[in-house]
Symmetry: C2
Subunit: 314 residues, 2 copies
């Protein structure tokens, strides 16, 4: 699988940002370790999702691309697909629940995509996407359970290990497991002794439980502020990859997530969305053993005014 990550890195070069790595004396003193933050909140469209979308869509044939792309997501994957399609000058259709926040719909439409709303109580988003794909000849690029998407997401950790040698531990947010499995594949190829730990919200800890029991657990609509991790479960591809490549999984409370976003805002002056702050939440709340050199993927920075206002008011 690592060869696919390396090929993805070549493919997205010059399109995705090679995001900076930040450090903070205050953070290091607080956790008693050297911490290296891979700033995917500074990635194009504000999240690592650009990497996977760019890689997957680049691999399609010109004929497939011209027929158009479809995906289902109300979050960063939707914006990533929309932006990549705009770059290629091809049509993008995004299936989104009809109760998705207006800001997310507007952001996706802002990149030129067509949004198709559905009633989540009546329809399955993937079934609707498959139906539209069959009707119109679209290619489906799912949000995480796709080899090229996973390979693309793995390029963030690849860059981190290239830029920061000798990490002992890497903390990665986990939603559907695309970023986590990609990061683990890169890490085990480049620095096998570095422990990869996936982090989830406690109220959305399906992957933690799936990892511990080795059978797939689902949680529907978990009440977490970390909206990027509200996916019900790991996927058919990501679950076995997580079991094979990830060393451990841990969960964090909602209060710890809020505290981490605040810490990043006030002390590092970085806008990081709740899902993106899971690794910092784990470090600051002592949910992971302290290592000497810790990498943390800040996976995204797309947070709306209402959510940030709520967080700053705590």
């Amino acid at each position: 699988m690592f060869e696919q990550v390396q090929a993805a890195a070549e493919r997205i070069r010059g399109y995705a940002h090679r995001t900076p790595i930040m450090t903070s004396r205050t953070l290091n003193e607080r956790v008693g370790a050297e911490v290296f933050l891979k700033c995917e909140n500074l990635q194009r469209m504000g999240a690592f999702k650009y990497r996977g979308a760019r890689n997957a869509i680049s691999r399609l044939s010109e004929v497939e691309r011209q027929r158009g792309i479809i995906t289902y997501s109300s979050g960063n994957h939707a914006q990533a697909v929309a932006l990549v399609c705009r770059e290629f000058g091809i049509p993008a259709t995004i299936v989104m629940p009809d109760n998705a926040p207006a800001t997310k719909r507007a952001a996706t439409e802002g990149y030129g995509a067509t949004v198709v709303a559905y009633n989540p109580d009546e329809q399955s988003r993937s079934a609707l996407a498959e139906q539209l794909a069959a009707q119109h000849g679209y290619t489906i690029i799912p949000p995480y359970d796709h080899e090229d998407v996973i390979a693309g997401q793995g390029t963030a950790a690849l860059e981190l290990h290239q830029d920061v040698p000798n990490l002992d531990m890497l903390l990665v947010p986990c939603g559907g497991g695309g970023l986590l499995s990609g990061s683990a594949i890169s890490t085990k190829a480049l620095r096998p002794q570095c422990r990869v730990i996936g982090i989830e919200p406690e109220v959305a800890n399906d992957a933690v439980r799936s990892f511990r029991t080795k059978s797939l657990v689902s949680i529907h609509n978990p009440p977490t502020i970390a909206d990027g991790t509200r996916t019900p479960s790991l996927g058919q591809l990501t679950f076995p990859l997580v079991l094979e490549y990830v060393d451990d999984m841990q969960d964090v409370t909602e209060a710890a997530i809020i505290g981490a976003v605040q810490f990043l805002f006030y002390r590092l002056k970085l806008v990081v969305e709740p899902s993106g702050a899971l690794g910092i939440a784990a470090l600051l709340s002592g949910r992971v053993p302290t290592s000497s050199r810790v990498g943390v993927i800040l996976s995204g920075g797309n947070v709306d005014a209402a959510t940030m206002t709520h967080i700053l008011a705590q």
Copy 2:
């Protein structure tokens, strides 16, 4: 004067961060120029003020330092002096109005300084500081009207010109004029053809008017959200320096300042305080002619929850 900036750069090396320079495709497209952001919001204690305080306090004798430092400020200069004094292990006293926000007082005390509150209707802050300095043998480090402070602030633009050659224009926020005059001194030594433009809020445009009329204008307690620029006027040192080295001054509306903080939050994922966003406000609102290569100093990132919530609600 530029020799003093160069000496300051040597003196603060290894203490102040050499802050990163960020760029944004979205910003470049929006303003039709290549824009380079010098991220002093990522400086120690969150603002450029650390540079001047570190330089000025480093130049004191060991005997002077042991007697202690005093200054008057309710903002970033207070925190900068407090942090530098903690680094030297010497006492710091900060004279602050008794109506200063509790968060600013707490931040300053958090660095170990002693805060002396005064009633701004009854006392002048500088007179009180002078009285305490005479009583206790403290050395006064004023917030801007001091050669070593100005030289220290000039190191940010020095680094920017070293890292980004051939800038055509440099936009610098203006409060008391320490950062602006220091930046202009560095620029005219390293890149004389680069136009240096100071930016102020329209409702606090004392320096714009002083620059145009060549006589010192004061505005007391201007109602601007950019609290770092509420200083009543340029100083005895900074006014002539601004007249000599700065090419132009422009002002921006409160709405433009709010829009700039929002843009930096949503598009660049950077937390920048209102005063720090003045250059972006000028660019986005078309108050400065577009050049091909524009430097902008994002001077600080210390913004409290109430102010950011107000800005995000607009």
